[in-house]
């Protein structure tokens, strides 16, 4: 079982595709991951399953990997965690989740933005430039920078889930650059594809952070560390004083102009 827990998930799913289906059945969506170097044991730990689910998941995967062999049950991470579970989001993590909410409201408008994308008129181009400003300043410099410069510095930099999150940030930034390049060329289809690509990356990225990374962070960090992170978030937000209200107003204006859709990202 120890060997199985130390197996990188991409290698596991590559050799045993059924393992990917089992992970999926337990709400662990590793199959489409772009990195896939996370160890199975770390993945199971980070998802915070109940001891029963964790044991069932590992037993089913073990049966796929070594059919017919009796594999001993490991001490589950869920069992180790029970005594320290805190139940709800810390104020530091909650602030990041609240920022996600505004970003998701912007993403919910993207399909309508694409439908009415206008790269020819100055007004149409300005709307895209304003959207890019929201993405680069609020989503990236304000929100992602808080993660990269503060939150992640409290975690092991070698963790694969951090590498995956940083990779998402990089891919999102690349789509935004592609969008501006397409706008420069007056390439409507290119701009639409870049915008749609950004929305897809961020939607998936936010889901992973809200559902997996942040709950795990709240389980492993101490009260002292949460206090430190919260104070450093305060300092970081001072650099953007007043801007949050402006960006909220921007999203409200877009929502009034376009009808948000995509229920999966609007909550």
């Amino acid at each position: 079982m120890e060997t199985l827990l130390r197996t990188p998930v991409k290698e596991l799913i590559g050799r045993h595709p059924a393992a990917g289906l089992i992970l999926d059945a337990f709400g662990i969506g590793c199959v489409p991951c772009s990195v896939g170097t996370c160890l199975l044991g770390d993945i199971v730990e980070i998802h915070g399953l109940s001891p029963e689910d964790e044991s069932a998941l590992l037993s089913r995967i073990a049966a796929v990997v070594s059919p017919g062999r009796v594999v001993e049950s490991p001490e589950t991470g869920a069992g180790r965690r029970r005594s320290t579970s805190r139940g709800n989001r810390s104020p530091a993590v909650k602030r990041l989740v609240d920022e996600h909410t505004l970003i998701k409201r912007f993403i919910a408008i993207v399909p309508d933005l694409i439908e009415r994308l206008d790269v020819e008129s100055a007004r149409g181009r300005q709307m895209i430039v304003d959207g890019v400003d929201f993405v680069r300043t609020f989503a990236d410099r304000c929100h992602h920078a808080k993660e990269e410069e503060i939150l992640f510095s409290f975690l092991d930099p070698d963790l694969d889930i951090l590498k995956a999150m940083l990779d998402d940030h990089r891919r999102g930034r690349a789509r935004v650059k592609d969008l501006l390049d397409a706008l420069e060329r007056r390439d409507r289809d290119g701009a639409a594809a870049s915008l749609a690509g950004y929305a897809t990356i961020l939607t998936d990225h936010i889901r992973k952070e809200d559902d997996i990374l942040y709950p795990w962070v709240d389980r492993i960090l101490s009260t002292h560390q949460i206090g430190e992170i919260y104070a450093r978030f305060d300092e970081a937000d001072e650099r953007f004083a007043g801007m949050r209200a402006n960006y909220e107003a921007f999203v409200v204006t877009l929502e009034a102009q376009f009808s948000p859709r995509g229920a999966e990202v609007s909550q």
């Binding site: 579970s85 805190r86 206090g227 919260y230």
Partner: protein
């Protein structure tokens, strides 16, 4: 029958049939790093509160929780109070506000017993936090009568 007889805060409960196992290893080191500790006696400006993680514990908490020093007090500055029997609760509110605004504490953990009267201590802490200019993370830990952690969560003022 006493007027308190049906109050969960003072109802008589006998735990003697349940022998708690003793830990091996002898003396447990105290994690207390200050004096005084009673909330009426402490000054919010005391150096040990500056930038600290503060534990505000109801009076009964350390008696109920067997591993209070290692699991709850370690690394924290302390104050104790009883929201039911202590007078001058308005002074308590002012002192907690002083911790947040003047001592600039980093976090506040409020540990209370499961009995309803203990909720008053959390209420006072949250009222102080609402009045304070600074915002800080606040945790509430609720203990059962034999010291088991029943609930542990971050709370908003």
């Amino acid at each position: 029958m006493s007027g308190y007889a049906e109050c969960p805060g003072s109802r008589m409960v006998d735990f003697t049939k349940k022998d708690a196992p003793e830990e091996a290893g002898g003396r447990v080191a105290s994690q207390l790093r200050q004096w005084p500790i009673q909330l009426h006696l402490v000054s919010p400006q005391a150096p040990y509160y500056k930038g600290a993680d503060v534990l505000l514990a109801a009076d009964c908490v350390p008696f109920a929780m067997g591993n209070f020093h290692t699991d709850a007090l370690k690394g924290k500055a302390l104050a104790i109070a009883c929201p039911k029997l202590d007078g001058g609760q308005d002074l308590y509110l002012a002192k907690i506000k002083g911790w947040i605004d003047d001592a600039k504490i980093s976090t506040l953990t409020v540990m209370i017993m499961q009995v309803p009267c203990c909720r008053g201590l959390l209420g006072t802490a949250l009222a102080a936090a609402r009045q304070a200019r600074r915002k800080i993370p606040i945790r509430c830990v609720v203990l059962g009568l034999q010291g088991d952690v029943l609930q542990e969560e971050w709370v908003e003022a």
